[in-house]
């Protein structure tokens, strides 16, 4: 196979405005380089020029352009996410304290960090809290989100617009959401208690944030509110993807609304539901901002979950090794969720 070398004249073919300015920039250093090289090394200058031309033409016309585009992003992500991830695992096997924080070589700790973390008195409490937080947040977001998605799938004026308004919760800063709910859930003067009392549901105030038996629920309620809208949106997309003909056919076959839901909606939504649930798990494990805003993990760690505990270890107790260790343990959970997520969206990935 012959390589076609593009002559400079051909290379500098008239282009659009963008390309011509680019051409000037790209061409100039090359000419400059050739002029700088001594005459007797002309052959290597020519070869260099040829290589350079091939490189540049690959950049403009070939796959080089794509490689350039993707590699910048990938290098950035590897530097800012991939390497830290590896580093995190590494730190969980090292002694990291205020003295060794800045040094690159630290004493190896084996699995001592893991043993220490499990032996922490609050370990099981935090594990339980995490499980409760994840399960009930997801369940609440999903069930309410699905109900709303079904409701907004009806045809009525303004359905799409009103549904869209629900998404404000999703674009608000988590800390602000936390602040608002912290006030709504306040024990003595919170509006939620006032409403519940006036409806006769409770007799006396619930101290959402300071009662150890309900403090985790304070954060769960806020988190359900926060994540509900996004669940609803994704489920709405799935619902919209089911052909109306199917429902009409089922109706002609004599299926009532409930049977239609069980025999058509749910089976057709299976991959959507898989994706929504795994995204819900991921989102719940990512939820951080509500904790410092509402309970700060208290009282007595009764509302601390793994992600907040890990952060407290690192940034309040400066025990970075334990912080890293906890987050590695959490990571295992996240990877599990993401495998489900990727599997449920795989058909899309494959196109």
């Amino acid at each position: 196979m012959k390589h076609h070398r593009i002559r400079v004249s051909e290379f500098g073919w008239g282009e659009g405005a963008f390309s011509s300015s680019l051409k000037r920039r790209l061409l100039h250093p090359k000419c400059f380089a050739i002029r700088l090289l001594p005459q007797r090394e002309g052959w290597s200058a020519a070869r260099l020029g040829g290589l350079m031309q091939r490189f540049l033409s690959g950049l403009r016309d070939g796959v080089g352009f794509d490689i350039l585009l993707i590699s910048i992003a990938m290098l950035f992500l590897i530097a800012m996410a991939g390497l830290p991830l590896v580093y995190n695992v590494l730190m969980s096997f090292q002694q990291v304290d205020m003295f060794t924080l800045g040094s690159f070589i630290r004493p190896f700790a084996g699995i001592q960090n893991y043993i220490d973390v499990v032996r922490q008195p609050e370990f099981w409490l935090v594990t339980r809290n995490t499980a409760v937080f994840v399960f009930f947040s997801m369940a609440g977001q999903f069930v309410l989100g699905f109900a709303l998605a079904l409701f907004f799938a009806q045809k009525f004026p303004g359905a799409a617009t009103i549904r869209g308004l629900f998404l404000v919760s999703w674009v608000m800063p988590g800390l602000v959401v936390g602040a608002i709910w912290s006030w709504i859930l306040a024990g003595d003067f919170g509006v939620l208690n006032a409403i519940l009392k006036s409806l006769g549901i409770i007799q006396s105030n619930i101290f959402w944030k300071s009662d150890p038996s309900v403090s985790i629920w304070a954060v769960i309620i806020a988190n359900i509110w926060l994540g509900l809208a996004f669940n609803m949106l994704l489920l709405s997309v799935g619902l919209a993807g089911i052909s109306r003909d199917l429902y009409e056919a089922a109706e002609l076959d004599g299926a009532n609304a409930f049977q239609r839901f069980w025999t058509i909606t749910l089976p057709m939504m299976r991959s959507t539901i898989g994706a929504v649930l795994s995204l819900g798990l991921i989102g719940t494990l990512q939820q951080f901002d509500l904790f410092p805003a509402i309970t700060e993990g208290g009282p007595a760690n009764t509302s601390t979950v793994a992600q907040y505990w890990s952060w407290q270890m690192s940034f309040q107790l400066y025990d970075f090794a334990k912080g890293a260790t906890i987050s590695v343990m959490m990571l295992v959970l996240v990877l599990f969720a993401s495998i489900i997520y990727v599997r449920s969206t795989r058909h899309e990935v494959r196109g």
Partner: protein, 351 residues
């Protein structure tokens, strides 16, 4: 005649899929060549390889005498009309037409004049300030044509350009494209799956299947002398009838399974099994002694022609006269022995 596009031993692999197998083709300057074949036969891949949109795995491709290996599309000086027209939706008709001129550094006034001129020839006069979405299918098609002819390229490449038009418009555009080709003295390569388009428009038809060129030649040569059963069945509408039989011991006739015999105009090798190919339009209802008989299973009349189909669905006959034949009749058929094609049942090759 000089060769404008020359393909030598072109191979193309997509992973394990062998899309083009040792394709060699010479396209003369000023000729109109149609690449025709069923979908997946490699005709589009071949066209895109000429355009430089696909890189060929091996072989040599030259345009106007210059080797094009590794040359990006923009340096090949060819124009292409896409199946979807590929009009730039964010540009007006005029901007679409002059896009390539602007890229090649043609001045504004000159480009404008050229666009007006092309609009005149393609009947787009009043549409220059419109956007593609404001045009009808036929008008879009004309813009795509105009965009191709505006810069007088070395070759025009058409990728099924008429398949999105309705039948009537397709017939009209067929004539217009051919007339344009003749007026410009252009070299055109035209990909289609419609053999009628290929037969009516092209001077040279290339029939492809599974990545190889089955046969190439002038349209009527392909019709009269198909080299194999595939080409025989592909060219001509309605498709050729194939009847299995065996050459008689004297070599002057084909003995059919049912015991009837079709006389041949020439001597064939005796006693070999053959497939006889009979074009529906060559078979006539017998006035004298019929060559063979078949029971009629279906009668369709379009007014200008009558289509008779045998009860087993294998045979079809077209006659231009009205017919009194009805379903269930057993009709006698005669055929000019010189118009009978013989193929090898195993290889499909012409005997």
């Amino acid at each position: 005649m000089t060769a404008q596009i020359e393909l030598k031993n072109i191979e193309k692999h997509y992973g394990s899929f062998h899309a083009l197998k040792n394709v060699s083709l010479t396209i003369d300057k000023g000729s109109f060549v149609a690449l025709v074949g069923p979908s997946g036969c490699g005709k589009s891949t071949l066209l895109r390889s000429i355009a430089g949109l696909e890189t060929i795995s091996s072989g040599e491709l030259s345009i106007a005498g210059k080797t094009m290996t590794g040359v990006p599309p923009r340096h090949r000086d060819i124009a292409m009309v896409f199946q979807s027209y590929a009009l730039y939706p964010h540009m007006t008709v005029e901007e679409n037409l002059t896009y390539s001129l602007r890229l090649h550094g043609v001045g504004k006034a000159e480009a404008k004049a050229k666009a007006a001129e092309v609009a005149q020839t393609t009947g787009l006069g009043q549409l220059l300030p419109r956007y593609p979405r404001q045009l009808s299918g036929g008008q879009r098609q004309r813009v795509a044509m105009g965009r191709a002819i505006i810069r007088n390229p070395k070759a025009f490449l058409f990728d099924e350009p008429l398949s999105n038009l309705d039948a009537a418009l397709r017939v009209q555009m067929r004539k217009e494209i051919r007339a344009l080709h003749d007026r410009l003295g252009a070299t055109s390569v035209y990909v289609t799956h419609d053999q009628i388009e290929a037969m009516t428009m092209a001077d040279w038809v290339v029939v492809m299947r599974d990545g190889i060129i089955e046969q190439q030649g002038r349209p009527l040569d392909l019709y009269d002398h198909p080299v194999n059963r595939f080409v025989a069945g592909f060219i001509g509408s309605p498709a050729m009838n194939f009847i299995e039989g065996k050459i008689a011991s004297d070599g002057r006739a084909v003995n059919l399974v049912g015991g009837e015999r079709i006389p041949l105009a020439r001597q064939a090798e005796p006693n070999q099994p053959v497939v006889a190919g009979l074009r529906p339009e060559h078979m006539k209802l017998a006035t004298g002694t019929p060559t063979f008989h078949f029971p009629v299973g279906n009668v369709e009349s379009t007014g200008s022609a009558t289509y008779l189909t045998s009860a087993d669905g294998h045979l079809q006959l077209v006659q231009s006269e009205r017919s009194t034949v009805s379903v269930g009749d057993r009709v006698g058929v005669e055929i000019d022995p010189a118009l009978i094609h013989l193929f090898d049942p195993q290889s499909g090759k012409r005997i």
